[in-house]
Symmetry: none
Subunit: 159 residues, 2 copies
């Protein structure tokens, strides 16, 4: 029952392209655009596709034009892990050396951050030590440490 499910998959990929390219204001509109690309489907199918893709319906502020559009989950707000939220909330700076990363945080929040990192269970992280405003993260290997550090920085940035 899972062989060349191509049609559905390709169509859903097309949907992702379409919503990324411009604001789509309704499922009918989407169905019409899909038709122009050779996918003949009804609004009902589009509704199911959207549900499966986990797309988000974003309310648009500016009253004119449509009132909402669909976006991909990764672009939209995050439903980030607890670690993600904590990092974006408390981390001020991240630096690394060899297999160690030092995270500077707002005063009093380091222990919470350390706990959140432990909890995330990243395999590349051997352990953490949290003080008051500093967390030391011990990584498995020096080679991958910059990547882990980058991961923390990514979590801060996007906010």
């Amino acid at each position: 029952m899972e062989a060349l499910a191509q049609p559905k998959t390709k169509r859903q990929r097309a949907i992702l392209s379409l919503i990324a390219a411009r604001p789509i204001h309704s499922q009918d509109e989407l169905a019409l655009l899909l038709e122009q690309q050779g996918y003949e489907v009804t609004q009902a199918t589009v509704s199911r596709d959207i549900k499966e893709l986990g797309l988000l319906k974003v309310a648009l502020k500016g009253g004119n034009g449509g009132t909402f559009k669909y976006v991909e989950p990764t672009v939209g707000p995050a439903f980030a892990s607890r670690l993600h939220r904590v990092v974006s909330e408390v981390v001020i700076q991240a630096r690394s050396s060899l297999n160690q990363i030092v995270l500077r945080t707002h005063p009093g929040t380091a222990m919470m951050l350390a706990a959140a990192i432990d909890n995330a269970g990243w395999p590349e992280v051997l352990g953490t030590i949290g003080g008051d405003d500093t967390v030391l993260v011990i990584c498995e290997k020096p080679e991958t440490t910059p990547m882990i550090k980058q991961r923390f920085e990514d979590m801060r940035g996007e906010q």
Copy 2:
């Protein structure tokens, strides 16, 4: 044209608490919950509030239960929303007596929470004192204190 727009603003704040506290599957459901908090409004008004708040409708994967819920956009960390995130992250328990609310938190996070509350600038709150795992919130009047406590509890929700 902009004087004591309190009612609408307060209601929208209540909406943010509600959607953070649990999955809301329809605007009618939201209107009902608001009614229980003393805000008597129709689905039409809720629809407008949601649009103004820029809330997102998120499709839920697991077919059972509802098929979507509303969430707050995480972009642009407004103060209220920062407080909201912090509360949901660190608060364990809220109790009140007279004009005081005692919030128990995870160890080491109380100061951050106290700062976040101060920052939110709620007019009903005179000030806060943060220790290690406890924050004392001094409210303006005993009468409104349970309401403020409720607000914290709403923010905790489940995540």
